[in-house]
């Protein structure tokens, strides 16, 4: 009896939570199901109609994925996204770890001041930088190429990555560096043998955040690669598809799911680092 009343009084709580979870899940479920239905079905009925016979597999097809990956150029765009994301993650994280290490453990004039400047740069909206940089890129003829976005993402990512890695590296125990110095280790040896291995948790979070930011970015790609479809990442491709194929939902949904696949895999496999990375990244300008 006691158990029963407890369940009864708590049922509004469960209902509210399950209702919210449904609202949060249904749109994505609809996307996934639609991407697996034949074009004529998608145009004729809502995606939820498949739920009448969910295990009738004749109503599903991989044809849309085949179309977007080959005919619509999503395969190329996916590779472009990879080609942009990997260097645009490795570069800033490497450069930021060097800087963070120096700011945390080396003495040089202006250290405090420079570090404050680096963090203060977080307040600058990217929009402040587009016009002058684009005109320089155009002059040195790298607008519309991968190096343009690699460099841009590196520059934009540095304030946050330096700040976060500094917080972590500055917290490493002093004894480690003292004993390394006694052993005659150079600063570079200390960096590779002590700082990098011990900072793996912080670096993992920063890598996840930065790579996700770059992978999901539309604006920076639009500005520096906008006019060159051959090098455009997946986000740019989808934004264009929405314009040109706005009513072909089977293609749009398949394309969107292709773009979500990698982030979702990272999310499910590295959830703890992932959440930490996102939380840390919320400061990004």
């Amino acid at each position: 009896m006691h158990q029963a009343t407890k369940i009864l009084t708590r049922s509004p709580l469960h209902l509210v939570l399950i209702f919210l979870a449904l609202i949060w899940t249904l749109p994505t479920a609809g996307l996934l199901i639609t991407s697996l239905r034949p074009p004529q079905d998608v145009a004729q009925s809502g995606w939820w109609t498949v739920l009448a016979h969910p295990f009738n597999f004749t109503q599903y097809t991989l044809q849309n994925y085949d179309s977007v990956l080959t005919k619509e150029g999503m395969g190329r765009a996916f590779l472009n996204s990879l080609a942009i994301t990997v260097p645009a993650t490795v570069l800033p994280v490497l450069i930021a770890s060097f800087a963070a290490y120096a700011f945390a453990w080396m003495k040089f004039p202006g250290r405090q001041f420079l570090f404050v400047i680096v963090v203060a740069l977080l307040v600058i909206p990217l929009q402040m930088t587009f016009i002058p940089i684009l005109s320089i890129f155009a002059r040195i003829r790298i607008a519309g190429t991968f190096p343009a976005v690699w460099l841009a993402h590196t520059g934009y990512g540095l304030p946050l990555t330096v700040y976060l890695l500094h917080n972590f590296i500055a917290g490493l125990p002093r004894d480690l560096f003292d004993s390394a110095a006694i052993d005659g280790a150079s600063s570079l040896t200390a960096f590779f043998k002590i700082v990098l291995p011990l900072s793996v948790p912080a670096i993992a979070s920063v890598v996840i955040f930065q790579s996700l930011w770059v992978w999901n970015d539309l604006l920076v790609a639009l500005i520096y690669l906008g006019g060159s479809p051959n090098v455009g990442p997946i986000t740019l491709k989808i934004a264009n598809l929405v314009g040109s194929r706005g009513q072909n939902w089977e293609l749009l949904t398949a394309a969107a799911f292709v773009s979500m696949a990698l982030p979702l895999v990272i999310f499910f496999s590295l959830q703890r680092y992932f959440v930490r990375g996102i939380l840390a990244g919320s400061l990004k300008g």
Binding site: A102, F108, M128, L279
Partner: protein, 289 residues
Amino acid sequence: MRTKRWTPWVYVAPALVLLTFFLIYPSINTIRLSFFDRRAETFVGFANYVYSFTNSAMLTAFRNNALWVAVFTTLTVSFGLILAVLLDRVRYEKIIKSLIFIPMAISMVGASVIWKFVYAYRPAGVAQIGLLNSVVVALGGEPIGWLIERPWINNLCLIAVGVWMWTGFCMVVLSAAYKSIPRQLMEAARIDGATEWQVFWKVILPLLKPTVAVVSTTMVVFVLKIFDIVYVMTNGNYSTEVIANRMYKEQFSFWNYGRASTIAVILLVLVVPVMLLNIRRFRQQEATR
């Protein structure tokens, strides 16, 4: 460690050079450009600023950004707070948290496609393929052009996409803060006869206030610069314009460097105070951790 005097500079130089090139120099240049004409040739004084605060498209953008700031921030933070508190009481907390956090992983472009499909509109009498209109029709209503009905329905529909994406963030941050509140405080209040409602308003909320403040300012900064969702879903048509999209148009549709720069500077001026507040709070939190 054996370090020469110039060693530290070797470590910080790449970062400093890139930051100067990508953030410091262009920002100064953009401020300068905002006082010049469309081709960055003739000095025009404050003409671009006068334009930005009088032009009707810009005024719509300001109004919409204000709407985004108010509605988006309120909804993400309240949903996040409600979920943080309620989920703590059930056993399936982890699963629901994951489900609500997932949208943070996908791009705003992907989210825009997902929701454009939810909002899909077809005339009455034809089978609706959009989830929202099919519900409306099933309840006996007429299908609604969610992204066209100006100015409230379509703007609120765009904001809903943002809320769907960012509630998970607010929930995770607030939940961590909530779980760090000593349980005895709430128990003591309950033993003194406080209702759950009173415990929430008198004990939980005051203790969560600093976190709510940080999360809210983070949301405000983010939303002032909102771009992707609007660019993909409506491109600012049907009075859904926002500041960042307006800047993109001035630059790449109208090729007006002066006006585009001015809008960027306005964005900076709006963001800086909130951002400074945010960084200061973030550092305080780090210090107490």
